[in-house]
């Protein structure tokens, strides 16, 4: 694109059609900088949101695992097995599929099994449970946390889904081309051409990289989903 801008500026300059002035560079440069800054802020915002969502999901996991403690042994271990199956599927399946902006069928099946368990009498308390602060609130909390898990998953998937808009890419391309063309058209002296080309080549990838990172922090490697779940999977519960 830089080369195309250079060739076009040379051609128009040869035909003496150039009416472009250096003063035009300033507003265009500002626009380019603002766009880059906007994308950068979005990258940070998006990544922070994703971190918050995953942290909330991990907290919900821990809470649900703890709440199941009031169940009799066989029910408790079945509930925790399903819960940890789901957590394991996130770290081993969904963490990979989310990099492509996709959800994992295995994780979906795992959360469905967990939901099925929690909506059945298998997750109900025995007829005369020991009254403790946890058992007193068990039914409501177990239900709330299971729905919270669904919410947390959807939020995580949404934040990590690809927002790789072609229009945005095209806008950045057009803006860059214009900026490069204008810069080449108004530059004076052969020695500055090399510097200008170098600066343009250096500047071009910045918004593109930002856009890539913004589109999916997981795919960009800004965030390791599996690492966030590792502490709860390492717990003996």
């Amino acid at each position: 694109m830089t080369a195309a801008a250079l060739l076009l500026s040379r051609r128009l300059s040869t035909h003496k059609h150039s009416v472009l002035q250096p003063g035009l560079l300033s507003p265009l440069g500002s626009l380019y900088i603002f766009t880059t800054a906007f994308l950068l802020s979005n990258v940070i915002f998006q990544t922070n949101n994703l971190k918050t969502a995953v942290t909330q999901e991990v907290v919900t996991f821990s809470k649900l695992g703890a709440v199941l403690n009031v169940l009799p042994q066989q029910q408790r271990v079945e509930g925790r097995r399903l819960l940890f199956d789901y957590a394991y599927s996130i770290t081993h399946d969904e963490a990979a599929t989310m990099k492509k902006g996709l959800r994992s069928d295995n994780s979906q099946a795992a959360i469905d099994r967990l939901r099925e368990f929690l909506s059945s009498s298998s997750a109900a308390l025995p007829e005369a449970p020991a009254v403790t602060p946890e058992s007193a609130n068990y039914l409501r909390r177990a239900s709330d946390f299971s729905f919270d898990l669904i919410d947390a998953r959807e939020r995580r998937l949404s934040l990590a889904s690809s927002s790789n808009s072609p229009v945005l890419w095209l806008s950045i391309g057009v803006m860059y081309f214009t900026f490069a063309f204008l810069s080449f058209s108004v530059h004076r002296g052969a020695s500055s051409l090399l510097w200008l080309t170098f600066i343009l080549l250096f500047a071009f990838p910045v918004p593109a990289v930002m856009l890539f990172l913004y589109s999916n922090p997981l795919a960009a490697g800004l965030y390791d989903l599996a690492a966030q779940f590792a502490p709860i999977l390492a717990r003996n519960m």
Partner: protein, 384 residues
């Protein structure tokens, strides 16, 4: 450290510090300042972790009581002999304990076949065996006058597994069992548990003790398309089976008995294969300090070695040692084997730090505690 080194060190300490064990007392294994206890178990070889982890837990308990001055002023000295989980070697070791070392009691033998091979020697010399690491019926029913069990039976473990599997709709159960007394006890336990439901295992395959040759058994079990597979062997054999079985694209729930060596099994399997593997346990959850015995165990371990990792086998060793210590204490300042066994029988319905068990002349079955755990693939942790 070589397997024989701890044993030699134990004997050396006993001889140098406390003189000839029998020089001042008529009772075998009782010296003026010492009580000799023998343990034959697998400390090396494919099942070596079973004995090592149990010994580690017992050590913490013995060290604590010895540091406080011992039992009635006598230090507990433990002599270890490695049998590699082989019955013949266990019998030889037991003979040496009885005739050469002249120990007061035996403790924490690991394995059914090893215990069974030692029983005639126990009978001949009248040596009590405390807390063997086996849940086999052969030393429970009928009651053996010299064997004092702490852990629950394999039949109870299997009944719980079958109950759990039935509850969640997995009725087609296959069994892979070790071709010896342990494995046959497991098979009998499964047949007994399935009988009231008028069902039988969908496949019954045998494997050899201490063997990793499980490919054929895995293939045959996979062909029967079970919903669950019960493995009745130790960790090395079971890990080998699981690797072969999962290669066949199978999803059946796999269960192991407590004897498997839970931590060792976890270490023997790669992360994706160990996830979701079930293990029944006969001791409380070692990471849950709400029970006093577990809290004491954790504190003892952390005091001795801050890097030590908790585990089911070492907790069992710690609890077994506590039982031994309590019986020695109750046997009085001049213990005899008879007084020691009477003290154990008089425990009746008792508990060790909140862990209940029964011990009497007519019932030496120990605890009835069984719980299910599952392995977590990521870090090899357990859920219960």
């Amino acid at each position: 450290m070589t397997p024989g080194l701890p044993r030699m060190l134990g004997v050396l300490v006993a001889l140098l510090c406390f003189g000839q064990p029998q020089s001042h007392a008529a009772e075998p294994g009782i010296g003026p300042r010492s009580i000799l206890i023998g343990q034959s178990a697998a400390f090396s070889g494919p099942s070596g972790a079973l004995g090592r982890e149990f010994r580690q837990g017992a050590h913490y308990a013995f060290n604590e009581v010895n540091a406080r001055g011992g039992v009635h002023g006598r230090q507990i000295i433990t002599i270890y002999r490695d049998d590699g989980y082989e019955p013949d070697r266990a019998a030889v070791n037991t003979s040496k304990f009885a005739a050469k070392d002249q120990v007061f009691a035996l403790f924490g033998y690991v394995g059914t076949a090893t215990v069974v091979s030692s029983l005639p020697i126990l009978e001949r010399f009248g040596i009590p065996l405390i807390a063997p690491v086996t849940g086999a019926q052969i030393i429970r029913s009928p009651v053996h006058r010299l064997v004092f069990n702490l852990r629950s039976s394999y039949h109870r473990e299997i009944a719980l597994l079958v109950d759990y599997l039935s509850r969640y709709g997995r009725d087609a159960i296959a069994i892979v069992y070790q071709n010896d007394a342990f494995g046959k006890d497991g098979l009998n336990g499964l047949l007994k548990a399935l009988a009231p439901k008028a069902r039988k295992p969908v496949a019954m395959e045998t494997v050899q003790r201490n063997s990793a040759n499980t490919q054929e058994a895995a293939r045959r079990v996979a062909r029967s398309k079970p919903e669950a597979v019960l493995l009745v062997s130790s960790y090395s054999t079971n890990a080998s089976f699981i690797k072969h079985y999962r290669k066949l694209d199978t999803t059946a729930q796999i269960f192991n008995l407590s004897f498997v060596g839970s931590n060792a099994l976890s270490r023997a399997l790669p992360s994706p294969l160990r996830h979701g593997i079930g293990v029944s346990q006969v001791v409380p959850f070692p990471w849950d300090p709400r029970l006093p015995i577990v809290r004491d165990y954790q504190l003892a371990m952390k005091r001795s070695d801050p890097e030590a990792k908790f585990g089911f086998s070492s907790l069992e060793g710690y609890m077994a040692a506590q039982l031994l210590i309590r019986a020695l204490d109750q046997a009085g300042p001049n213990p005899t084997r008879q007084a020691f066994m009477s003290a154990l029988d008089q425990l009746q319905s008792s508990d060790i730090g909140g862990f209940p068990f029964t011990m009497s002349q007519s019932n030496r079955s120990g605890s009835s505690f069984v719980q299910l755990t599952f392995l977590n693939g990521q870090a090899g942790s357990f859920i219960h």
